[in-house]
Symmetry: C2
Subunit: 325 residues, 2 copies
């Protein structure tokens, strides 16, 4: 299939073309990698911003406010909402998304929910690829919102230029999160629902932790970038312009320090590895029909006459010889 | 390395040998697959029981009670506590485990916490392999406890003979879980903290849902196995003997109906696929040094002169030709 007309319409900001391209990539339709290869040389225009944090922190409301503010400034904004805990696309996040209908009729906004369909690794790769399509479609900002559960928070940091960690004063989430390793990958911290008791305390706790980390020199970046801790009340719109200003400062720092280029190159290295893994799996399971070889030995495996490990070694041996036959 | 002496000690129930074997497998030390292949023919003695459900449902306390009851009946019991949200082994679950010190000095009990170290898929595979070692070490029951977050609940069902879903009356967890697809893979349902308000209501809700599912014939098994919904108060030990009896009934049904053999064969098929994937990755990244090829092209990728997809295709082409050179 020739993707040139689709890419041309995508670049021109046609929403239907974008939806079609995303569907091609999400479902790994024939030629999807060619489509992504075609747009590769024109990427890098969009700023990719990750919004992560525990459930209930108000991420969706915050994202909605950011979208509105960016739109007011004339920016085109895309939102990718990732829920790795949901096996269903659009599942758990749908309720939150409905609230965004106000902006959904606006051509300068595009919203997409993505759920895991069995493979968390696969979800992260596909999300990164969807971000590429949005970048190619000339969005100025791509907001990647994720439900924070351990690995997914680290994943989102691996796919964006700036990562915002959203916390709330109540519940022990703040402290839990500080322990979880996600603090290491966040660039900006937001204490949302800051009109509730404990907000100032959480901000101080965060600043102490960040200060200690800086002094311990645990992150080279930290010498240059002083991680801000911002207070917001997303439901009222308080603190949103300060967050946008902080994101602008972070972007400027990323550019000046060379960190942007470094992060993007690291992401491309990681992406290439992912694509090799995926292409290898496709080769093994679809072209080389490893499943058939396994099916032939399944009775022996089940009876204990041969182990999965020996059969796997046979399959791999066959692959290594493959092209010779 | 010759694993025969290790395996002999493992079979004899030596705890140090078991810990050593698990460490070999967890860290994928040289020969770990040979070790697993060696024990393969003697598996199938242990009953593998999955305990899953949302955080706070009281799974750890329930597991502790089950361990005590099985011990009283003279059974050797192993517990594998899996937390896919924690990148650290023994992290979040450690607090719960400490309460089990009472049983930890008993030779007939073995407890192991497993955290994700970057890869959820890898965690599931390793957990299944650790269960094999416990089976080979002559444990009668292997309890696999997991913190329920979407995919991990489905994973645990894929590695056990019987899956117990633990819910609690308060919070909307019950309903959330019913929607999440995990109900489809559970064999037994436990409403824990049944002395709290709403327990009977949750049981009725569950029974209605299960009845509707049975009538809709959505699961062939359901025609034969009537999923029980049990009430427990794990902190007091209430309902534990009933749960053990229900697990015994489920095991008898699994045997009689041929479902046990069917499930185990399906697991072995899945395992063999996982081992092929892992062995392939090792070949690609360690033997064939795909990373080096990518590193050579990274500057071109970063400059937009070539895409990750083209470089991946080059790498794969090299692999297919590999053995010829």
């Amino acid at each position: 299939m020739n993707f040139d007309p689709l890419i041309a319409r995508l670049r021109a900001g046609n929403t239907a073309a974008l939806a079609r391209a995303i569907s091609v990539v999400e479902n790994e339709r024939p030629g999807f990698e060619r489509l992504l290869a075609e747009v590769h040389h024109s990427l890098g225009r969009a700023r990719r911003i990750g919004i992560t944090g525990p459930p209930g922190a108000g991420k969706s409301t915050l994202v909605e406010r950011l979208v509105a503010a960016y739109r007011q400034a004339g920016q085109r904004v895309a939102v990718v909402a990732v829920d790795p805990t949901s096996p269903f696309t659009g599942g758990a996040l749908l309720g939150d998304r409905i609230r965004m209908e106000s902006v959904a009729l606006d051509d300068g906004v595009y919203i997409r929910s993505m759920g895991s369909r069995g493979s968390v690794g696969g979800l992260a790769t596909t999300t990164r690829e969807v971000c590429d399509l949005l970048d190619a479609a000339n969005f100025d900002r791509i907001l990647v919102e994720t439900v924070g559960v351990g690995q997914s928070e680290l994943d989102v940091a691996g796919m964006t230029d700036s990562t915002v960690l959203v916390l709330v004063p109540e519940s022990g989430d703040g402290i839990q999160t500080l322990k979880s390793g996600v603090i290491e990958v966040a660039d900006l911290f937001v204490v949302n629902k800051a009109d509730r008791p404990g907000a100032e305390q959480l901000r101080r706790d965060l600043e102490v932790t960040l200060g200690l980390r800086r002094r311990a020199g645990r992150q080279a970046d930290a010498v240059l970038w002083k991680h801000p801790v911002l207070l917001t009340v997303a439901t009222k719109g308080d603190g949103i312009s300060e967050l946008i200003a902080a994101l602008d400062r972070h972007h400027a720092w990323l550019l000046e320090s060379g960190t942007l280029q470094e992060r993007r190159t690291r992401r491309l290295l990681h992406r290439t590895r992912e694509v090799v893994d995926r292409a290898t799996r496709r080769w093994v399971w679809e072209e080389a029909r490893a499943d058939q070889r396994i099916a032939e030995r399944l009775e022996d495996i089940s009876a204990g006459r041969v182990s999965p490990y020996e059969v796997a070694a046979e399959v791999l041996g066959g692959l290594k010889q493959g092209e010779r036959t």
